[in-house]
Symmetry: C2
Subunit: 95 residues, 2 copies
């Protein structure tokens, strides 16, 4: 996977040490999931990574989405992407 | 809306001239929509912006998501977020 741009973005948000490929794949599986994804399931699936690498990548993903329109949230013991609370008014008007 | 980090990210991907607030709100409404969002609808909704500002922000949003796990796509005359094609195998395995 080409992750040059992701590396630049991770650098811009102060997380240059995180594995860009892991960040991208975490983002994809959480986005594709209908329900919150638990750290247990992530640990089982990304078995080639250490738990602290996965946690570091999750922290980077939170940071990346912090001020965005799509945000990463902890919901019911798992991770889920939702519309940013700060954009709630915009989204309600748009619908 | 606090968009300092978004400004840094837009700079990192070579789009420092784009309105970060518009990028964030575009991302939110497209993410929240079940169906592809047309440029016509975006133009009507973001009426305080010129069409070329909206198009510039869409180009930045495409660029931002280019190598990510969540990608922006043109589908049936509109814009929609989908899982990145490059992550298809990962996502199928995960489900």
């Amino acid at each position: 996977m080409d992750t040059n741009k992701i590396s630049l973005i991770l650098e811009a948000i102060g997380s240059p040490e995180v594995d860009p490929d892991l960040v991208v794949r975490l983002q994809a599986v959480i986005f594709a999931s209908e329900y919150p994804v638990t750290i247990k399931k992530l640990k089982e699936f990304f078995e080639d990574y250490e738990l602290d690498q996965i946690e570091q990548a999750l922290v980077a993903l939170f940071s990346l989405h912090e001020e965005m329109g799509i945000q990463l949230n902890r919901v019911g013991g798992g991770y889920l992407f939702t519309t940013a609370a700060a954009c709630g008014g915009t989204v309600r008007q748009f619908m």
